[in-house]
Amino acid sequence: MSLANSETAKPRAGRPSEQVILFSVGTHSFAIAAEAVQEIRSTDSLSGTATEIENSNIEKVQHTLKHARHSFYVVNARVHFGLPASRPTLVMILRGIRVAVLVDRIERMAEVSFMHQLPHAFIGRERKWYRALAYMGDRVIPVVHAAGFLDEDEIQYLDSLVAARTPAELEGAVRE
């Protein structure tokens, strides 16, 4: 999968493509690399496996989730992207990082053969949120950075909160 400047954006036959999962939050669609997602579960399954993080100053993260002996921080994508209220029904457990993401629904899988660089005119948080833009089915869809949901400082802060309360909680957590 190559990431080229939009100046040279031309689909080519034979170009390696990337599998992405299209998901939605509110009225907005996003894409994430399929290989970045370990598992997708219903939010119904969270009862009994999710634990509230008390006194979290990070509004988008209010819970941890136990999954396969690991602990994940649950990021509400609606809050992360600053969107109006929505109803998350699914949680995407990401691969290789201790993050799970609450989303409204999964639209479909898709193959993207070309991604456009985010134009330099975008100078805000979206530069951390998105790794590229994809043009699919007459729509421009941002392709999210899996690692952009929580930065290292936020993870350390959350670790300190969780560790202070239940030191055993993080045992077995995935370390990057």
Partner: protein, 154 residues
């Protein structure tokens, strides 16, 4: 980008009338679909697809305070500087654009940074827009602390 004497395009950006050096216009594009997605760059409306390229669209309200109208909407496309990068940028314009000849003259008064000078057209002074200066001044004011949902507001 440097304004030169010669041909200028007269156009309306929001409620303001400007002249823009014709040689710097890449394209005057029709009102194609504006794609929006969440972002915090409050000076941008979203992006358009034009000839296989994704082009960011300026929110003229951020400087000119004007309402955006879909009536007679076009996009002025020009290559602009974004730091070391040079990329296409789109500015929504309303109404007809007219090509005129004129000589760029410096403003006597200190005006906004995005005004490169003026040309005289039928006895009227029309400010000449310096798009790079507009971008530079807008970007310096636009900060990440803005929690404006720039990509989702109307």
């Amino acid at each position: 980008m440097s304004a030169a004497a010669g041909s200028f395009v007269l156009l309306h950006i929001g409620e303001r009338r400007f002249a823009f050096p014709a040689g710097l216009v890449t394209e005057l594009a029709p009102a194609v679909r504006l794609h929006r997605f969440p972002h915090t760059s409050s000076h941008l409306l979203g992006v358009i697809m034009r000839r296989g390229k994704i082009v960011p669209v300026y929110d003229q309200r951020s400087v000119f305070g004007a309402k955006r109208s879909s009536a007679n909407l076009f996009y002025l496309l020009a290559e602009c500087n974004f730091g070391a990068a040079r990329e296409l940028f789109a500015v929504p314009i309303n109404g007809e654009s007219v090509l005129v000849s004129g000589e760029l003259q410096p403003s006597e008064n200190v005006g906004p940074e995005y005004v490169a000078g003026f040309i005289a057209v039928a006895g009227e002074r029309i400010d000449v827009l310096d798009l790079n200066a507009l971008i530079a001044s807008t970007f310096s004011q636009s900060t990440d602390r803005d929690l404006v949902l720039a990509g989702v507001r109307g």
